[in-house]
Amino acid sequence: MKGFRKYLARKIGWYVITFVIALVLNFLLPRLIPGNPVARIASGAIEGLTDRSAIQAVIDEYKRLFGLDKPIHVQFIVYIKNLLRGDLGTSFNFYPRKVSEVIASAVGWTIALQLPAILVGWILGNLLGAIAGYVRGVFDKAILPLFLFISNIPAFGMAIMLLLIFGVYLGILPTSGGYGFDLIPSLTPEFIMSVIEHYQLPFWSIVLIMIGGQAIGMRSMSIYELNSDYVKYSRFLGIKDRIIVKYVFRNAVLPQITGLILSLGTMVGGALVAETIFSYPGLGTRMLSAITGQDYPLISGCTLIITIGVLLANLVLEILYGLLDPRIRAVQED
């Protein structure tokens, strides 16, 4: 296992560095805002005031509050210090609530939605793709073009369509929110049922998109593997097809995992926009309202959390891949 430990160490090291850089980017980019953001923000409080010194006092107060009166490297140190304490700043729009508090309530919803959705979609998609690759025939003529088209519909597109069909036309599923508007979050069966109901549309939008994309890829991969030399050789040695199929799918799944690693960022992005369609109380909706309201600390906080999430998920997947592909361990050992 020595090779694996090396692999693990390298991967973790790499992700730590990436995280640090993401942190810096997250801090730096929004602060490159041209013009004076403070005036914009404080405009609400300034309205009605005509006395110049009073206006200036308000602006100065806001500046101080949001730490914008110090030079940028000092700001960065303050930023890091606060980060280590779990303080992501104070939200402009939800003033005086802290960003971490505003996000905390949303993160749970997003993870509860996206993690299972992406997983289920990936598994189902690859399963379907594998079957399609093996069986061919009807699948190829009828279902393939359909899936091909579906995989080109963006996540939010699928979300809107499902909303229309099931929420409006058929009226069987709720169209917004995470739970009924009249309910208070509690562990009652009623509440739980409502949550599950509201969960359906966002969940299935993400799942369907993933299935579309994965199925196509897995099918190609399966066909490619099924035509490879080792399959032919194994057959001519008398090994049963049933066992050969196991080889093939094991080998075909590996690039699919790699594909997931590379596309996870994009997937999450699409899923977040899908969340906004349903006003699902997750990070997506939070971020949308933050952007609309120009709530920079909140935007910054959201992007940071999302980045951490994606990096973590990627790391987990990379470790998983290292465990599944024996070649990784073997190659590392020299």
Binding site: Y233, I239, A330
Partner: protein, 333 residues
């Protein structure tokens, strides 16, 4: 004359391309292989020799299709057997195949020993892991392969090692007939020597009883096999002992083949190389007459239209031509 271990009569098979066209790659091949003897099959790329190798196994699946003919291995008529029967009792145990380019023949994500377990268990499902491991160790070491290879993945082995591992795996159940499809083509010269030595070793120790060695390098066969068959456009055009075919080829094609190759021997310095003009006919629509007629110096109009029979000489050789032996000998370039 020893026991005939492999008898093939008028075998015809085809493979179907992705564009649904049929390529009649093996179009009436007959051969007899005796126990303890080795047979070389030589021909240019595209003549159908690789398809022939696979066809001889008796196991057909898309895109390879059986048309007609019989294959008999050690008395068992394989072409009459059900596919699952062939898979269980013939493949690997009676006849085995070594693929070209062994680098890709091994599953990249499987340890060698695990693959061997699958191979053995496909025929002897009850064998225990330990027995299989012992068998593998013993066999590998007797073929000068370290037992450490068993615990490795293909990516950890060099090209030559992979080829030799594949040979060891193909013969692990001691099949009677071994078919080696261009086993040396993808290797450097020193590895080639090792592989040939290994194959000869297998025969000497009677791990396999007979061998068919397929290559496009005709001269190579002189040092390796007892007899040689020359294949052209899906048919066998000449048969004889290695000595006879290499030094006294009868068929115009065999002659041309020998003339177009460099054989490192004394007196070669002054010999001019002459490549064979033209290209082989397409096997999707084989011509009715002699398939070599387009490129043959002796060709006449009858050659192109009449079906050319196999001509057997008194000294046990065969060639496929309308001309007599003397006529062929006469026309030297």
């Amino acid at each position: 004359m020893g026991k005939t271990i492999l008898k093939v009569k008028d075998l015809r098979t085809k493979y179907v391309t992705r564009y649904k066209e049929s390529v009649y790659a093996v179009d009436g091949v007959s051969l007899e292989l005796e126990e303890g003897k080795s047979l070389g099959i030589a021909g240019e790329s595209g003549c159908g020799k690789s398809t022939l190798a696979l066809s001889l196994m008796g196991y057909y699946f898309t895109p390879l299709h059986y048309i007609s003919g019989t294959i008999e291995i050690d008395g068992k008529i394989v072409t009459d057997m059900k596919p699952d029967d062939v898979r269980k009792n013939i493949l690997g145990t009676e006849i085995a195949y070594i693929p070209q380019a062994a680098m890709n023949a091994l599953n990249p994500t499987q340890k060698i020993i695990n693959f061997i377990e699958d191979v053995v268990r496909a025929h002897y499902p009850k064998k225990s892991k330990k027995d299989i491991y012992d068998l593998a160790c013993e066999r590998f070491e007797s073929l000068n392969l370290s037992r450490e290879i068993l615990g490795k993945y293909p990516v950890e082995l060099s090209g030559g090692m992979k080829q030799r591992t594949v040979i060891a795996i193909s013969t692990i159940l001691s099949p009677k007939v071994l078919i080696a499809d261009e086993p040396t083509s993808a290797l450097d010269v020193s590895s080639q020597k090792v592989v040939i030595k290994m194959l000869k070793n297998l025969m000497e120790r009677e791990i396999v009883k007979s061998m068919i060695f397929i290559t496009h390098e005709l001269p190579l066969l002189y040092n390796v096999t007892d007899d040689i068959m020359v294949m052209y456009a899906g048919q066998i055009v000449e048969k004889g002992t290695a000595e006879e075919v290499v030094f006294d080829p009868l068929h115009p094609y065999s002659k041309a083949l020998m003339n177009s190759m460099i054989v490192p021997e004394a007196g070669m310095k002054d010999v001019k190389l002459t490549p064979i003009p033209g290209v082989p006919p397409s096997l999707k629509n084989p011509p009715p007459g002699c398939r070599f007629a387009e490129r043959c110096k002796h060709a006449s109009s009858t050659c192109k239209t009449e079906k050319i029979p196999e001509v057997y000489t008194e000294d046990g050789r065969m060639y496929r031509c309308l001309l007599t032996r003397d006529q062929l000998k006469g026309g030297k370039e």
